[in-house]
């Protein structure tokens, strides 16, 4: 049974540091081998999960949610009030989105999401997080210098726009609802979804543009 023994685990990490292979691929291979030998895991199921998160579950789900919210005011209202129920309508409720919150960008507000303590992320609607989201550079700076971080991503935020940073310290997860790009009244949900960048749903992108426009 689990001992919850932090002192022991710290020592175990020292042993692992010395005895595990240094190469990450070999480490993970060793983990898989042991789990399979112990009958704790079926390797085909690992394949299935990889395929699921490569082909089905990913930021296109998030983009669909955003586009639908742009097109359907009732859905948007449900989304902002109770995001888990709203995304469940699309069968997108899942891993790490049981307490999802949707935060809306406006002309006067920009939202940015981070997890300073680990790298919490709304997996079932955005898939695997980008490496920068999990790196110390982003995690350390997003809460202290969000405008500097945004500038590094090429996003200039004027002084009259309020920046709101959301540090995911609990089991709540955040999806930024970016502003609908101008001049897109004629587009349908699918076309709109194709304009939604992953970064815009984290908050490191702001001004979305129509496909035929060149972003300056």
């Amino acid at each position: 049974m689990v001992e919850f023994n932090a002192k022991k685990v710290a020592e175990v990490h020292q042993h692992l540091h010395s005895h595990l292979p240094s190469d990450s691929a070999l480490r993970v291979k060793a983990l898989e081998t042991l789990l399979v030998e112990k009958g704790l895991i079926n390797p085909e199921s690992i394949d299935a999960w990889i395929e699921a998160y490569t082909e089905d579950i990913g930021p296109k789900r998030g983009a669909h949610i955003v586009a639908k919210a742009w097109c359907d005011p009732d859905f948007k209202q449900r989304l902002v009030q109770d995001a888990p129920s709203a995304i469940d309508e699309l069968d997108y409720l899942g891993n790490a989105t049981g307490h999802l919150k949707v935060i809306e960008n406006t002309a006067s507000v920009h939202n940015l999401v981070v997890c300073t303590l680990c790298s919490c992320y709304p997996f079932s609607i955005l898939g695997i997080a980008p490496a920068w989201y999990k790196a110390e550079a982003y995690r350390s700076r997003a809460v202290r210098d969000p405008r500097g971080v945004l500038a590094e991503f090429g996003v200039q935020i004027s002084d009259d726009i309020e920046v709101r940073v959301w540090d995911s310290t609990a089991e709540l997860r955040y999806l930024v609802l970016p502003q609908r790009p101008s001049d897109t009244e004629a587009l349908g949900e699918d076309e709109l979804a194709s304009l939604v960048t992953r970064n815009s749903m984290i908050g490191t992108d702001r001004e979305l543009v129509k496909k035929d426009e060149v972003k300056v």
């Binding site: 689990v2 993970v28 042991l34 112990k38 089905d56 490496a131 790196a135 110390e136 350390s140 089991e171």
Partner: protein, 227 residues
């Protein structure tokens, strides 16, 4: 724990890799195959009794240089090893040798059946865990209340980052009662009211450029006092 993981506001970590390719645009989700394997392992491994908070604490306990220098999913694998050892599923000898030393299956059942991609997609939807519960205690604070966060942490797992300690904020939202991570990391399930608390950046960093930008944190009731 005042550990290396608590990086919010820490300085010196340099530039962000803003040029990283959005892999999903190329039809991929992972930079390396081993990352994909680790992700899959983490999704389908059966680890009874482990709480997410205990797993997070085990990751925080990785030595600082390893925590900072090893790739992200590599630290997941190391955390898995550590929790399986702590849970009695693996021995350190088995990990070092790379093979199981016994036929002892810790489960009585037969090894799990293979899943298809469709099974995985359905299983993912069943992982929409909720951490809230109805408790008898009424929330102490209400929206708009001024609160001050605790000055100190403790040696165990906690979710009040160092940068937001002893800071004055306002209750932005009530989120019901959620599993309290500090005790959950010790295997004890209790619930406390969870608040979204908003801080002006000027309160957190006096030398910040835009003092009226906001930082929101989700904080449990015992992290807060009325101010």
């Amino acid at each position: 724990m005042d550990g290396i993981h608590d990086v919010g506001g820490k300085q010196g970590y340099g530039a962000i890799d803003v040029d990283e390719v959005d892999l999903y645009k190329t039809g991929k989700a992972f930079h390396h195959d081993w990352e994909a394997r680790e992700w899959g392992i983490s999704r389908c491994a059966r680890t009874p009794d482990i709480t997410i908070d205990w797993w997070r604490h085990c990751r925080e306990l990785i030595a600082p240089v390893d925590y900072l220098s090893r790739p992200y999913f590599d630290t997941w694998a190391q955390t898995d090893f550590a929790t399986y050892i702590d849970g009695g599923f693996f021995t350190l000898d088995e990990v070092c040798s790379g093979h199981s030393n016994s036929d002892n299956n810790p489960f009585d059942e037969v090894p799990p059946k293979p899943m298809s991609k469709a099974d995985a997609v359905i299983a993912d939807s069943q992982k929409a865990f909720r951490f809230d519960a109805v408790i008898n205690d009424q929330p102490i604070f209400t929206i708009g209340d001024r609160v001050i966060t605790n000055k100190h942490g403790h040696s165990g797992h906690t979710r009040l980052p160092q940068y937001a300690r002893n800071c004055i904020g306002k209750i932005h939202a009530l989120n019901g009662a959620h599993v309290f991570p500090d005790l959950s990391a010790q295997g004890k399930q209790t619930h406390q009211h969870l608040y979204s608390v908003v801080f002006e950046t000027g309160e957190l960093w006096p030398d910040t450029a835009n003092k009226h930008d906001k930082v929101f944190l989700d904080l449990w009731e015992s992290y807060l006092c009325a101010k």
